[in-house]
Symmetry: C3
Subunit: 433 residues, 3 copies
């Protein structure tokens, strides 16, 4: 159905949506519902696009022999998350409208088509918009894991992990805070998910890389062998896309746009989010210049991302200066913890653990400087999510390892996952130097 | 003109737009117009970005010697579509405000600058927003053709085909449905264009590849020679961009956002569109694992796209489960028809015909399960668009072949179109393996 | 804080934003504020994404040995711009609320969290949204310089230049027009910044390339040696991203979306912006075919961008035909001035000066055909910005050259900046042909 059809009188009657216009309620009544639903749709498509950002970032930071696999994992994990979150996740995470703790088979049901103003929860937004917005968040959690365990994990065990993470683990722990659960009641504060999303992804990733072990030859004869990413232009694009998506991630988490206060807050969040990313990037730039005499692009990219993760727990309350120093600390964290992990022989291919776990913890703590949360409550939340997700993931990775194996053979790892597991190179024509 | 200028009293008087604020009509009256115009702008820029998605998808799936050509074709076809749709297309497709059947020289005219509420069609949206939204749709149709005929077509005959397709053929057949024409009156249902846009692109592509013939060496000695894409990271990026754009494609086709019912429907469409894409991708992933023992990334990408095309004819009415199975069937179609075309020696470089034509037909039929359309009407529409577009395209391709030739010489095809036709390589420094 | 939490009564009271809903003022009063704030947020994220567009365009047009540097420069310059514009830029540019001419240390302060309708400037929009929107503009100016001086400039002098450009020079000259300064009072017209943003970037770039000198071997023995870009797929992607961002750039510069007139104008700007880009691309396509017998993709990309720059000074008033011919002239300018610069041995790596300076001047002049500005006033503005920015930049580049040197050594330039300055290749595995 398109424009001119609508302009004919007969069509007007036939269309449920427009028929409402006849008896349209006042915008004072419906305006906030419309604006907030729009916020979720808009923020949702921005966060959706982060799936592309993660894919490009990770695809750029792995070696070219593993790029097809990284692409496959990223599009598959997003798709699986979308299905699992509908099947059980959303209703498990937001149990308010249901009465069970865990929603087995409780598939999400959207608003009816052409819902009338009289039938809608006018103090809020459409279920469809909220579901879509929450769904793209859970996919981000899974994307975080994907990067850390790259270049040696088998496809299917990884995807089974994603099924459990997005359908069960994330929704359960998410409900503690965003489902009105015990942490929410205890006063834990995590506006857009430094802990609920990013640390959770980071903990799951940490468990994964520990169980998997480092890539062949990464730590050999006491030396750390750099394995440079194959395409830094792609990694930079991925970072910019993630930065873009973060406006939706944090801005949409205001969860309302229908009042002067709410829309102003959304814009304040945009400004703060941007500032934290910028501060993280500049900090990493300067620090790597000072420490290594050469700025390190991958650190700058991860510095920007760490700034973003750092501000995610409280992107609203800080001043712009607050966002700046919170983001800058994120940049510092990345520069110092990336080599630290290497010293511990924890092989995180893309730096996902420093960026999402360490900066996520920092961001959750930083809330105390601008919000009303206490350090005890914040630490309680951090530990609770850590214990639950890390232990749960560890158990799951071990089960997967025992049942089907999670790591490719040495030979396949040398060959590269693209040819060994998928039989398809990402750049078949570019000869390798 | 920027902020602070506006805040001075003198500037306020000077600016037509703000002067209206003095005598501002009630939001009850103007709210729907504003929201729907915004929907078209927002959905429009998302669909615009699909031009980049098609370019990246196609650029990633052709061999590196033809990438510059593919880029040139994609930016040129979008630009030509923009001009032709203004010159004749829009007014041909939506003849309501005009009285001719075909609008020769009937250039689109936008609303006057600073149009007053009193002068606007307040039950709808601005012409500018609608024109922009419709324009980006027609460009998508042309992009579909571009991928199928890649790697052996000459630039200029292709662009002349685009001129006719976007200026004449698409607008005429589009008017049957979206211009309030005979198919619309017959009850044919195609919400966002599984048939009107995607099948039409697919039929035009099918005619093109038949007239062109397969690439040299593609089908040789009874064997199908795979010609792998040169950059699967780029192809994946393109798929994600298309997926993003589809929220605008389907969501914007609600054509209204100013009531509770409409904005809720838009969000429902977002959720369904996402689900269909996810289901298409997962289906292709599993099927290729089962059939070939190795998941095939290009099939997964095309599976997601086929899921999107499948839900496009009715993204609103289905439940999320409906979107899932409709999209999943799209994934099945792609996995089975891509090799089928190869058996028929129909050489579609990027899988455009399975994705846009076959899944488009499927999506149009699937409407009967959730909408009010009858199978007879749906088949009538499918056949009508097929006959008109396929025959029209066939004739046009034959004329172009007779008049100027549409295929490069064998030597040029071996060399690659980039050096032969354009004298410029896409990746001049990366030596070919 | 997420959905279900909000729906509990206790949470409703606790949240400042939603508490307002109790005493919600009429949408007639708050609607325009909400819509305009939303416009700035939406347009702002689109313009933000132009940073990625510039990075990809420039990364695709330099040789592969300089891609890491180009990425580093682009993410760093955006980040520096974000910090400098907060620290001094915004308050220098819009001095209305302050009383000094230059705002040393006058950091931008956002609206309080949960600002009440009673406390907001309801005739406009939130400071946060406006700040964010203006900030992404200044970053664009710096990006323009980055491309022109590529492949031989040292990182740190470039970044120091960016500090001064974004913190001091751009805000001072910007205030002449958008801060309600003398050019604004004189009647100079530059809607979205053909001169204020694009020419300014172009002048700064011109000064830079003159002081730097051409790349080694570019002009040798009286011949112009082409140095083809390493990745035209990336350059095309960058162009599409810039085109996308331009809808925000020009559309957002309407600076209001809360009336029928304003939202219609925004949509009119979208349509015109798109048309100008299309016309620029098609013109460059046809002209390069006619002049060189082969269409030139890089010219087509720059043609589209020149069309966009050309329409930026007045994207609202022209008809679609007006946008077409204004954009087409932009395409002509690019095709003829790119070789002209080479003849003058001015080595602009990506064509930034033709696109942003020459087409920017053209666009500023073209205002006289559709707006009320006189040619004298327009030329006054063009010259004023030119003299100030070119001389200021020239002095700054010379100081930087004297103090720390701005150009890498010949050996480093041959090696490539990536290894020489950063020790990191963008494509370490792809062997060079």
């Amino acid at each position: 159905m398109k424009l001119k059809t609508l302009l004919t009188a007969s069509a007007l009657i036939a269309l449920p949506g427009l028929a409402l216009a006849q008896e349209a309620p006042s915008f004072d009544e419906i305006g906030p519902y419309i604006m907030t639903t729009l916020l979720f749709c808009m923020a949702g498509f921005l966060v959706f696009f982060m799936a592309a950002g993660f894919a490009m970032l990770e695809g750029g930071l792995v070696r070219s022999k593993n790029v097809t696999m990284q692409m496959t994992k990223n599009i598959a994990l997003f798709s699986i998350a979308a299905i699992m979150y509908w099947l059980v996740g959303f209703n498990t995470m937001y149990p308010g409208d249901f009465n069970g703790y865990f929603a087995i088979g409780g598939q999400t049901v959207l608003d009816p088509v052409g819902v009338a103003a009289a039938d809608a929860a006018l103090d809020y937004a459409s279920i469809g918009s909220d579901f879509f917005f929450q769904l793209v968040f859970v996919a981000a959690t899974a994307s975080i894991v994907s990067g850390a365990v790259a270049e040696r994990i088998k496809l299917w065990p990884f995807l089974i992990f994603v099924v459990v993470l997005t359908g069960i683990m994330y929704p359960i722990s998410g409900s503690w805070q965003w489902g009105g659960g015990w942490l929410s009641e205890a006063g834990f504060s995590d506006f857009a998910g430094s802990t609920v999303v990013h640390s959770v992804g980071g903990w799951a990733a940490l468990a994964g890389v520990i169980v998997l072990g480092p890539r062949l030859g990464k730590y050999k004869d006491g030396k750390i062998n750099p394995m440079p990413g194959s395409n830094l232009a792609l990694a930079t694009l991925g970072t910019f896309i993630l930065w873009l998506g973060w406006f939706g991630f944090n801005g949409g988490s205001q969860l309302a746009m229908g009042t002067v206060g709410d829309v102003s807050d959304v814009s304040r969040i945009f400004a703060n989010t941007n500032m934290a990313a910028a501060a993280g990037a500049v900090t990493a730039l300067i620090l790597t210049q000072v420490l290594y005499s050469k700025p390190d692009l991958t650190m700058v990219l991860n510095g920007a991302l760490a700034g973003l993760v750092s501000i995610t727990a409280e992107p609203l309350a800080p001043t712009l200066f607050g966002a700046l120093w919170i983001g800058a600390v994120g940049g510092v964290i990345v520069v110092f913890t990336v080599p630290l992990l290497d010293k511990l022989k924890i092989d995180d291919v893309v730096g996902a653990i420093p960026v999402h776990l360490f900066a996520g913890i920092w961001g959750t703590i930083a809330v105390i400087f601008y919000g009303e949360a206490s350090i005890v409550t914040q630490l309680t939340g951090i530990v609770a999510y850590g214990v639950f997700t890390f232990l749960g993931s560890l158990i799951l990775w071990f089960i997967l390892k025992a049942v089907m194996g999670i790591r490719v053979s040495e030979e396949d790892e040398m060959t590269g996952l693209d040819m060994a597991e998928l039989g398809m190179e990402a750049y078949p024509e570019f000869s390798k130097g």
